[in-house]
């Protein structure tokens, strides 16, 4: 029998994690805003010095007002909050598993929580490895918070046992691989979108044309080649994992349904997702496809992944309709 109290603890912890992630997001945003303010203040100060030099009226800015919010402190605090949220999130998933006496990815609610967990983990690893600045956190935590919020309100399922078809050790292997790949893919989708913003921003600024929201966000983003590389690194990690998830799923399907592949809607969409990511990896190495076109492929592939999980489970009748 599922443990009700422990299940509720898991739900409470997930709520806490979402709140902490949201605070972290604000921290990252604060870091960017204050850095931007500081840059403009420095610019003003530089121009006043020019004015002073040319004999104009002297304006001196008190140094204290500039350092009222230390950007690097805000950023470090936000990163620490992300780590804390990650720990709370991990305990929420663990509590779920113990409450239901099984792996904590048995329905859509739990799956979504795990996917977001993988995305945050991947982001933290990328920052720790020095692939990307932590300020990217504001743009990563926003979709994570929205995603978890949606999952907790729209897909909520109380901890309970699995339907017989899911009762196999393959759920540990197949679904764990699918969760890992999905979390990384969704992160790469966000980064690819940011890359598109940044490279459009670069293009407009180079032509000295004005930028409007959302392209103007490009000013806050890491350089385009950095975003391109991060998106590639994450996809290069996730693609073999996704391939393995599909193969493990095929082996499981062979044991459960008597065929390893049957073009069930879920299988079809996993295939489409796989083909698009294979296309991305080839596109990135092909002249005329590098850069923006390849990034669009990555975004399309992430959309196919979302269709694969949410649209297929909720709207299309197939063998994978459990939740």
């Amino acid at each position: 029998m599922p443990d009700k109290g422990l299940g509720q603890l898991g739900d409470g912890l997930l709520f806490t994690a979402v709140v902490v992630y949201a605070l972290a997001m604000l921290g990252f945003a604060g870091e960017q805003a204050s850095r931007k303010a500081r840059q403009s203040v420095t610019a003003v100060r530089d121009s006043t010095q020019v004015l002073v030099g040319s004999g104009g009226p002297s304006v001196t800015l008190p140094a204290e007002t500039v350092t009222s919010l230390n950007p690097s402190r805000a950023g470090r605090f936000a990163l620490a909050l992300t780590g804390l949220g990650w720990l709370v999130h991990l305990s929420s998933i663990t509590a779920r598993g113990f409450a239901a006496h099984r792996v904590p990815w048995g329905n859509m609610y739990e799956f979504s929580s795990c996917v977001a967990f993988v995305a945050v983990t991947a982001f933290l690893v990328l920052v720790a490895r020095g692939y990307v600045e932590r300020s990217l956190g504001a743009f990563v935590m926003l979709p994570v918070v929205l995603y978890l919020g949606l999952a907790a309100t729209k897909l909520y399922t109380a901890a309970g046992p699995l339907v017989p078809a899911l009762n196999s050790y393959w759920i540990k292997i197949h679904v764990a691989a699918a969760v890992t790949a999905s979390g990384a893919f969704l992160l790469s989708g966000v980064v690819a979108l940011l890359y598109l913003l940044r490279s459009r921003y670069d293009e407009l600024t180079a032509a000295e044309r004005p930028t409007r929201f959302p392209v103007s966000l490009g000013a806050q983003l890491p350089a385009a080649p950095v975003l391109d590389r991060v998106s590639y690194v994450v996809i290069a990690f996730a693609f073999p994992v996704w391939t393995f998830a599909i193969i493990a799923g095929a082996i499981w399907a062979e044991a459960a349904w008597g065929r390893y592949w049957g073009w069930d809607p879920k299988e079809t969409w996993s295939f489409i997702t796989w083909v698009l990511y294979a296309g991305y990896l080839h596109a990135r190495a092909t002249a005329g496809w590098k850069g923006r076109k390849a990034a669009w492929v990555a975004v399309a592939a992430a959309c196919a992944l979302i269709v694969d999980y949410y649209v297929v489970n909720i709207f299309v009748v197939g063998l994978h309709s459990y939740a």
């Binding site: 046992p161 339907v163 017989p164 078809a165 009762n167 196999s168 393959w170 590389r229 290069a236 693609f239 073999p240 391939t243 393995f244 193969i247 095929a250 082996i251 499981w252 062979e254 044991a255 459960a256 349904w257 008597g258 065929r259 390893y260 592949w261 049957g262 073009w263 069930d264 809607p265 079809t268 969409w269 295939f271 489409i272 083909v275 698009l276 294979a278 296309g279 080839h282 596109a283 190495a285 092909t286 005329g288 496809w289 492929v297 196919a304 269709v307 297929v312 299309v316 009748v317 197939g318």
Partner: protein
């Protein structure tokens, strides 16, 4: 003398065996060759890849005949204008359609056309020594120069352990990461192998389903199945001989009616069913190349019918087909041997019976209060017309109902005395299970291909291929030139190169 097909570039700095862009050449074979190059070029492959993804989309949204013909039928009934149009475009058979096949066949031709020369080149590269030092090392992405002597070459050989190193006089070439291309080729070759495995299964495979009531069984012959789905080149003699008996079927449910476990206890054997085995979901029975899966279950009330003469004319379980998650099931009982008139019954079986507004229903899938509710007829069942009839439907055109078509509810052990003589007894309840037997001779090949796909992919994504050159230019004083090149992860290579230079300068 043969003219090389591709324009010669500096092979040393071309760290890939990817073919160069095609160029139109004159001659009879020119355009043909150009077309072939076009087809096997990366751009075409990329285009075909995206087309493949696009072509699969309708298969992910529209019902497909292979999977669920009933849903295709109902879709066509609901959409009378768009439906037939989509059907003509093979939208309900996407994965066997002409256009889908055309795309993947072209893609695989393009793949093979690209793979063969690449494999040849890679095999050559595997045996060859790393290429000679380019004339100008400073033009490479990573390079360094300092004053030093020929000792550096010995130090380089030591530092480049694990690399393939060749020394030519005052020059040294080294290369590492050949497994990247090996993995790449293994991955793509495994895709071709997978296609072959799928094709073998589709042509020589077999699938049959059969409904078995507790206490009965079947043998693995084409005739014993209710429904078969053989491959185009399937031969009945390739069926693995075995027989199977269903001894006991058990299902357990949570209090809310959600199924927890299904368990079919069977006995099986090559000639006689003697070996016990539990067939469960996720736990099929494997005999040779044949696998038996549990795919469905239901109830079969045991019914005994006597006709007016008092003779027992039916004494067997009758499989009823479940219609709801709570196992409200429909039953048809035909008694062709009854005299003087044939008898027919139609009704419902409910495992946990509730009655609401005079209608019976079931509130739980488990067997708690089973009731068999039937309407009876007497007359001609219409079985002699030569037209095949389903055992699950009753043709009442030549039949007259008992009691003006009023239904009779029977609990286990109860008997309905038919008007004018004869009786129907609901003796007890048995369960049935449906088994699917599949033989797929291409399965092993597909699995082998899958291993190659994952393994090759990991190698091709995580191994980095790179080259390093060292040259000592004589003079007073002599200078050392070092250069390096990596197509993958240049940032990491820069760090590696810097470390190498540090060790060489020691």
């Amino acid at each position: 003398m043969t003219v090389p097909d591709v324009v010669q570039v500096d092979e040393a700095t071309r760290l890939t065996t990817q073919p160069l862009a095609p160029q139109l050449r004159s001659g009879v074979l020119g355009p043909l060759r150009f077309g072939w190059r076009r087809l096997t070029s990366m751009r075409t492959a990329l285009l075909l890849l995206f087309l493949l993804a696009l072509a699969s989309v309708p298969g992910g949204f529209l019902p497909q005949r292979r999977i669920n013909p009933l849903r295709v039928q109902s879709y066509l009934e609901k959409h009378t204008t768009v439906g037939p149009l989509l059907d003509r475009l093979q939208m309900f058979d996407v994965f066997s359609s002409a256009w889908f096949s055309a795309i993947y066949l072209l893609l695989f031709i393009s793949l093979v056309g690209c793979l063969l020369p690449r494999t040849r080149l890679h095999l050559r590269a595997l045996r060859a020594a790393p290429p000679a030092v380019p004339k100008v090392l400073t033009r490479l992405p990573a390079s360094d120069t300092w004053e030093g002597d020929a000792d550096v070459l010995a130090r380089a050989e030591k530092a480049l352990r694990g690399w393939r190193v060749v020394r030519r006089g005052d020059e040294l070439s080294a290369e590492r990461g050949y497994l990247r291309e090996t993995g790449n080729l293994v991955f793509h070759l495994s895709l071709v192998l997978l296609l072959v495995g799928i094709a073998v299964g589709a042509f020589r495979g077999f699938k049959g389903t059969v409904l078995v009531v507790e206490g009965t069984g079947f043998s693995n012959t084409v005739a014993s199945y209710d429904d078969i789905n053989p491959g185009r080149r399937f031969h009945p003699s390739s069926l693995v001989p075995f027989t199977l008996q269903l001894q006991d079927f058990r299902a357990t449910y949570a209090p809310d009616g959600k199924a927890l476990t299904f368990d079919a206890q069977v006995t099986w054997g090559r000639t006689q069913a003697t070996t016990p085995y539990d067939v469960r979901v996720n736990h099929p029975l494997a005999v040779g190349g044949a696998k038996t899966y549990l795919i469905g279950h239901g109830y079969a009330p045991f019914v005994r019918v006597r006709d007016r003469t008092g003779a027992v004319v039916l004494d067997q379980p009758v499989a009823c087909l479940p219609q709801t998650p709570q196992f409200l099931s429909t039953c048809v009982i035909k008694v062709p041997d009854a005299a003087p008139q044939q008898l027919g019954f139609r009704g419902a079986f409910t495992p946990t019976t509730i009655t609401q507004d005079g209608r019976v229903g079931s509130s739980f899938p488990g067997l708690v209060r089973p009731v068999l509710t039937l309407v009876g007829w007497a007359g001609d069942l219409g079985l002699d017309g030569g037209v095949p009839q389903s055992v699950y439907s009753l043709d009442t055109t030549a039949l007259k109902p008992f009691d003006k078509g009023q239904a009779h509810a029977l609990s286990e052990g109860q008997t309905w005395q038919l008007p004018g003589g004869g009786s129907l007894t609901y003796v007890g309840t048995r369960e049935w299970a449906t088994f699917q037997v599949t033989q797929d001779p291409g399965k092993r090949l597909a699995l082998l291909a899958a291993v190659g796909i994952v393994g090759g992919l990991m190698l091709s994504l995580f191994v980095r291929r790179r080259r390093v050159w060292v040259r000592v230019r004589p003079g007073a004083p002599s200078t050392v030139e070092v250069g390096g090149l990596s197509r993958t992860d240049p940032e990491r290579f820069q760090a590696e190169f810097a470390e190498l230079v540090r060790r060489l300068r020691e």
